[in-house]
């Protein structure tokens, strides 16, 4: 800016040296220019704080506006105003610079706290009964999630690991409280009454169910026969269910045997080699078993094609104990 000014000054001087040459400028526009200069200066004084703030570029903007004005200045009266503005601006600039140096070295916790509150979203309210003993700069309402908001920002500056949480295995398994059995037995007797199947089979599910029941009975029959012939030898579970000729039938056998166990007609134990063996349970009263009072353990067995082959080989199973229906 200063370089530009000197070139204009030179121009002016040249003009004056010529003596006769004068720039044409009417009074109206001169008055306007002087008015604008005064406005700029008033603005500088009224918005002093704003101009001083390190966050504001208003001082620079003002000087740029003054520059543009100066392009229209040809007479000393206006030039004097320009000089006046410059003095004001320089003073402001000096003060701003010294403040910058103060910002550079001093950390102010109060200002930091203020800025933190702003970040967290404090709601500054007009409170006429504000407590004079209140150290906080202004009464305000800090929202419920204020600290969470700050924390979310803070996470970005840390190399913190998320944490793993679980419930399973955190406490010891204990048998649950056994509830009154009356309700259950009421329902089971209801089922026994309505056991008569409708004559007309409408659903696929029903006929499928009947077939399952038939098969379960058939298999139970075999189990009881084997055991009657040789009551002292428990039957190996795998010997019983495996069909060496068909993996699919083996799976079906396992499925049907699970019903037998579930309904309490047979049980599975582990022999001394920790291998599963199956044996029928003697029925006392008809087909009603006291399901609820028996201790029960759930065991799940699944078999892959590979497993099935391995077992057939290992156990040397040549014939199925459950002949296909």
């Amino acid at each position: 800016m200063s370089s530009r000014r000197s070139s204009i000054d030179e121009e002016h001087e040249e003009n004056h040296m010529d003596g006769d040459f004068e720039v044409e400028q009417d009074d109206g526009s001169r008055r306007q220019i002087r008015h604008q200069y005064r406005e700029l200066m008033q603005n500088m004084q009224q918005n002093r704080d704003d101009m001083l703030s390190s966050r504001s570029n208003k001082l620079t903007d003002t000087l740029q506006a003054a520059n543009q004005l100066f392009a229209e200045v040809f007479k000393p009266r206006e030039a004097a105003l320009d000089a006046q503005l410059l003095v004001l601006a320089t003073n402001l600039g000096k003060e701003k610079a010294s403040q910058l140096q103060a910002d550079m070295t001093v950390f102010d916790p109060t200002s930091f706290a203020e800025d933190l509150l702003s970040f967290m979203g404090i709601n500054r309210l007009e409170n006429p009964d504000s407590d004079s003993e209140d150290e906080a700069c202004a009464k305000g309402y800090l929202g419920a999630d204020a600290w969470k908001k700050l924390g979310t920002e803070a996470e970005k500056y840390f190399k913190r690991t998320p944490t793993f949480h679980f419930m399973l295995g955190s406490f010891k398994t204990e048998p649950p409280i056994v509830r009154q059995k009356t309700d259950r037995q009421k329902r089971t007797s209801k089922v026994a009454e309505k056991k008569v199947m409708p004559a007309q089979l409408k659903k696929m599910e029903e006929s499928h169910q009947e077939a399952t029941e038939k098969e379960v009975e058939r298999i139970l029959g075999f189990l009881q026969t084997y055991f009657r012939e040789d009551p002292d030898t428990p039957i190996s579970f795998f010997d019983f269910v495996i069909d060496p000729n068909s993996f699919a039938r083996t799976v079906e056998n396992m499925f049907h045997v699970s019903f037998i166990i579930r309904d309490g007609f047979a049980r599975i134990k582990l022999d001394q080699d920790k291998l599963p063996v199956i044996e029928p349970i003697n029925q006392e009263s008809g087909s009603q078993v006291d399901i609820d009072n028996q201790p029960r353990y759930q065991g799940v067995i699944s078999l892959s094609h590979q497993d099935w082959k391995e077992i057939v080989d290992t156990f040397e199973i040549t014939e199925p104990m459950i002949p296909p229906s």
Partner: protein, 266 residues
């Protein structure tokens, strides 16, 4: 299971530490092994057993991290490793590898004498990483304010000064706080146990005065420069405008020197 024949740095370090403190003597004997001894010990256990133990060890480390409490070697041995003590070093190495590979967690030793560990993240938090926000998030906010005050005031801050500023944020040690409960306990006890802060008595003060410093976890999980950036963001200033602090933040402590092989994970 691949038997590694090359020298394992952790083991050779152990052998040279025989001259350690008296208290460690007994412990150290089982941690100091020759290479062949280590090999033989490994072979005493089946690969499945070792694999199971490593799994348990990883679980243990993740569980201790739930509350951000540092993990002591003595506890690891007592609670997890137990009779596999003879292959402790190998187990820890494998657990460390698993944590890094699967989760991106780094097992860091914050106390090489007492053998205390913490987990830190190798992944940088980015925009769009929507982590769960809960009470711990709020606590981190409070902690960051305290770490900022400590650093900006020259790496140490008097307890009274900290509370004075926190009061402006509606956090008062005498009152129960909505998010933090007993704040005094949180700041002087929980954060200290987690190794985020150090809380020390200033000598020759009566009535006793206390001062705060950054704890070893804070040093590992964040940095002076990062906290300076945080302050700068809150105050909307250029980090360079804090000349002294900016210079202080440029010194890279040995523990934070960039590791060359972070990306080269075999």
């Amino acid at each position: 299971m691949t038997q590694r024949r090359r020298g394992r740095p952790s083991l050779s370090q152990n052998t040279s530490r025989l001259q350690g403190g008296d208290m460690d003597m007994e412990e150290d004997v089982s941690f100091t092994q020759t290479l062949t001894q280590a090999q033989r010990n490994l072979e005493k256990h089946s690969p499945e057993q070792i694999s199971l133990k490593v799994g348990e060890l990883v679980q243990y480390l993740l569980i201790r991290d739930q509350k951000k409490l540092p993990i002591k070697r003595a506890d690891i041995v007592k609670n997890v490793v137990k009779e596999y003590k003879d292959i402790y070093a190998e187990l820890l190495l494998r657990a460390k590898k698993a944590l890094l590979e699967v989760f991106g967690f780094q097992l860091e030793e914050i106390d090489t004498k007492a053998h205390i560990y913490i987990l830190i993240n190798t992944l940088e938090r980015g925009e769009g990483d929507d982590l769960k926000v809960n009470d711990n998030t709020a606590k981190l906010g409070l902690l960051t304010v305290i770490l900022s005050l400590i650093f900006m005031k020259g790496n140490t801050a008097k307890e009274v000064a900290i509370w004075e500023t926190l009061r402006r944020l509606r956090v008062d040690p005498g009152e129960r706080h909505e998010d933090f409960g007993d704040v005094k306990k949180l700041v002087t006890d929980e954060f200290v146990k987690q190794k985020y802060l150090e809380y020390n008595k200033v000598p020759h003060t009566d009535p006793p005065e206390y001062e705060f410093r950054w704890g070893p976890r804070a040093i590992k999980e964040t940095s002076k420069l990062k906290i300076l950036e945080f302050v700068s963001k809150i105050q909307q200033k250029d980090p360079k405008s804090w000349v002294t602090q900016y210079r202080d933040a440029q010194e890279i402590p040995r523990s934070q020197a960039p590791r060359a092989s972070t990306s080269a994970r075999s």
